[in-house]
Symmetry: D2
Subunit: 349 residues, 4 copies
């Protein structure tokens, strides 16, 4: 059940709606938009919603209307929040001179950086290069999910500290992956956006934990997750009270062997129709091929994506898994090529 | 084995290469490009190529170099023909005032029209509307592949005649599907481009038959065909001597239920890298959703596709399977929206 | 619409039903079972079935009941024919001393032989070995579908003649693939079962053509065909009047690379529930791995398959694609291992 | 690196190998088999294995041979441990009168019970019924992974306590899912086997945590995990020192809509070839259809599975997602039907 308040609803009005909901066993979740205040009622109490609670809510002065959302994602759905959502990342940590970087606005957000943080020099060199080329968020893995226990598992805390250092040096907010509930607090201390990786899209305890904090979250699509499962996974985070969630399409698993995954760009209009939240495209992971990153980045911008996340490294040829990584020159060229496409769809880069 | 001739090679030079190949049991296939003449040697004679034939060919005055192509697609590969291929459709039938329409050139080719030809009025109305909006090729099914034997199987010959009539009225060349070897001749008589449907991508006798004629062919990707299988299927057509082949990505089968198929746009850079032939995108079939056709069309143009094929109908809401069909107003809007994107990637529409 | 006649219905009764249907624009298709006579009405005439035709049919003395089948497969469905269908193959060509071999009966039918017919000696050696080990149908490809035009395309007519010779020598009926409508007649002359390959499952003109002849057909599942599409493809054959159709599951295309395809054994209960027709399993193609053929054959028999089709060759190690082929000793061992499993599910081998 | 010790190697011999490995920066993992002692060396120290460490190990009296395993799963691989592994579950908690239940032995282990623990009566009724029918392990979910945050998430600790109560009443060891590292200790206190669900197959922190405890683990295959990724995920657990791991195939995600997942039975021979660990089949989740559970259970036993895990409930028709659940009568019938198949493959039930 979604309760939309009238324009000009006061905090007292909101409180009275919350009270009424709690009285009937619901947990209220308030979203204060630029124009509207929306209250989502979470939970399924024993009394029938339509028969008992809805009329009482409707009777409140400040309530514009009461919607019944049958889908199992409510807060995430565009029905509950018709306008596009945008939010800033990095404000708390003083990124971009304290202004932060907007996700979901007119300016397309390009996140770039190395797959893994390997050391200070590698990270700083990359951060400065991508920043100069126009990237506004720095990506870098400190904790890495690896299919084999014998592979390098990331620099951990030291990697997080280097990312914070790179933010200080460039002004770019940083995004990094968090893999387990026990590390959410530590990662929140250093990062501006928490990335939930594809393998953890349905790690529900992790979703609940990032739902409890207030750091923005990028939720990657599971390797074989349907769009609906992905929306429901995001609902776990919003239901916890963290509304700053963006989706990230990173390729799905299909039978095709010429690419590492199949980048499903139709997820962009699918998410845009179903939800108000922003969507980012990962053409590096999504194809696994350096020679496809540019083409797929252009396609992503053209079809309405709100951002890109791209692997960049000073020397990708030296990496064991660098076949999907751009060097800094290739990245700078891509940024120049993307500009006219962004303009063609009424956005900036 | 691919033999590249020197600039300025004469017809006599070509003939001597052909002769030498035939002498050793190969079938020569000559491609006369704007700059180069290339001869592909088809067949695997008993003598070892490298040891016997290649030096004899290399010894010929006009031969620039001899390439050994290990892949099982040779004529289709970019190795054998490094420059992009473009060709005209409709010239023979006087389309576009005899000038025909170029596929694979700087101008992106938009093919539009109804899924099935239903009658004269429906076809003419649609043809005129899409022509006015900027489409340059008319699509329409006369013979329709249907999963059920009890569904409408298309108007057949009468549908072909209506298509030819629509070409006469609008100047647009027509593309239509041919499903079986026995009808290739009939369809060639009326149509300007033969479409091989996804279900027939590996119908090898049909591929051989369209390889024998000289009407251009659009080869749709099979529902679960790999890029490599698709290239090899095209090789069947080129090996028959018909070099005017374009690919068409129309969505692959995956687990995702929110779209009818998953449109694999990474097929565009994949085909562009592997082959010199043009590639067209079908966003209607590829998504099965009208509300995604515009976004996916924009993405296709941005990532380098040479054309689009789009289902348009005056009254899509009246069709049993019209959920992926644009009406003529939506199509005209899409054409306007695509123009700046085409320009942003250095092309026209 | 399915019309079930009363027990003891005469040929005159059947004729009167047929007449009534034709009068209303339907094409009648009569199935004479051991116990029942069933008439399927094919076509969708303009008059509403329920309102006009059904009462008239119901009024006929010999009509037991009239069923409305909403699915687009009627003749294939178990609704239209509740009992299991079985039929004999090879009777016309005198196989098994004129008795033929039953498909869909209590005895599980094992079809074995080489992937391709390569020559007389190879075929005869294999045929005798598999016959001695207990196989009752001989498989062998004369016309081969190949992804590359440069691969061996089969011995063609000569291969068919060798198969007929092997039948004469061993008494085993032969099954071989037919790939195009123009060759159906030729293949029917030599073979006892026509195989429609996976790539041709939706080659509708081919399906119609084999529907017109009376040679039994094995319809392989398309590489990414749903069970429902497969049933509808079979309906094309039955709608043509050829009721002797068996399905063959041969692996579907998935993301898993350790097997060539993923053998979907749940297709056995799925087909058994939806249809009355027999189903055969191809563990050779379905896994692409010799070391899995035995395990998957056992599983197939245990879950209710009516037969197996297995690639056997005297020297599989000498074949370019022999990695899924058993040698004759391995095949004989498998036949011994299958016997107790067949018994455990109440069948023989 | 895998070090195989000579027959009769003493604890002192083992200690000297361990010492040598630790000296060179490896972590030793000792497996004491019935016949052999095997030491796996985990870690990649800076010195080249072959040049430095291997000769020193080989020089030790008790070392039979030193193997270099190139795969990124070592402990899990059959190369490192050629004989089948079997182990007992429930011994610590006194199940089966203290004898425990063997997994991977000649007797096929059937685990049965409700999807979720709903209450004492439901669990006790089911436990007693499946026990009487021949099941030897009780399954039941206390913590449930749900795609929607608004669905019932399981009884949690209370559910675990009820499972322990049911074990006391029936003697059956219990298996239940653990979803997050923080709950491993609690679940270990009550359960005999820890289930890692499909969505958590690559939740590496959870895998490491269950690797640290000594309770046996059932590792379900991820929805789109390859066999190789699954083996590597198991390696995380064994690398932590917990060797009692069994795999569970529960259906993979494909395009086919008639089943909820596609049960990949070829995983049985694939796992048996690659690994020494047992494999269990889940026909309930794997098909999502009650009417397929029996057929797929028979197939699983026939192709070599070591066990089955089956959803059983006294009143499946009352459940919201009961379409894949057998009632107790159906389960008892299935157990009778499986017996002769187990015998046919040389096992008992």
């Amino acid at each position: 059940m979604i309760i939309i308040l009238k324009h000009g609803a006061t905090e007292d009005d909101i409180a009275s709606v919350e009270e009424k909901l709690q009285e009937h066993g619901y947990q209220p979740n308030v979203t204060r938009g630029v124009e509207d205040v929306i209250v989502a009622a979470i939970g399924t109490p024993s009394l029938s919603e339509k028969e008992m609670v809805a009329p009482q809510l409707q009777a409140l002065e400040a309530v514009e209307k009461v919607l019944f959302v049958s889908k199992s994602y409510k807060l995430v759905s565009r029905e509950s929040h018709p306008a596009d959502t945008s939010f800033k990342v990095g404000v708390a940590n003083g990124a971009a001179n304290g202004a932060g970087v907007e996700i979901g606005g007119a300016k397309i957000c390009v996140m770039a950086g190395p797959c893994s943080v390997e050391g200070r020099e590698q990270l700083m060199t990359t951060a400065k290069a991508v920043n100069q080329a126009g990237a506004t968020v720095l990506r870098g893995g400190a904790y890495k999910p690896r299919t084999s226990p014998y592979d390098f598992q990331g620099m951990g805390l030291e990697g997080l500290q280097l990312l914070a250092e790179a933010r200080a040096a460039t002004g770019m907010p940083v995004i990094t992956e968090v893999m387990t509930p026990g590390l959410v607090e530590q990662v929140c201390e250093h990062a501006d956006v928490l990335q939930i990786g594809a393998r953890n899209m349905q790690n529900y305890d992790l979703l609940r934990e990032v739902g409890r904090c207030r750091t923005p979250v990028m939720l990657k699509r599971g390797l074989s997750a349907t769009v609906e499962e992905w929306l429901k996974a995001a609902e776990y985070i919003l239901a916890g009270g963290n509304n700053n969630v963006m989706f990230c399409e990173r390729g799905i698993r299909t039978y095709e062997p010429s690419t590492r995954f199949t980048l499903d760009l139709s997820a962009v209009p699918a998410i845009k129709k179903a939800s108000h939240l922003p969507i980012i495209i990962d053409p590096s992971q999504g194809t696994g091929r350096r020679d496809m990153v540019a083409a797929m980045s252009k396609a992503a911008v053209a079809c309405g994506a709100d951002g890109l996340i791209i692997e960049v490294h000073p020397h990708p040829e030296a990496l064991s898994d660098g076949q999907q990584t751009l060097d800094t020159t290739q990245f700078a060229q891509l940024m120049r090529d993307l500009k006219p496409i962004a303009q063609a769809v009424g956005r900036t880069l």
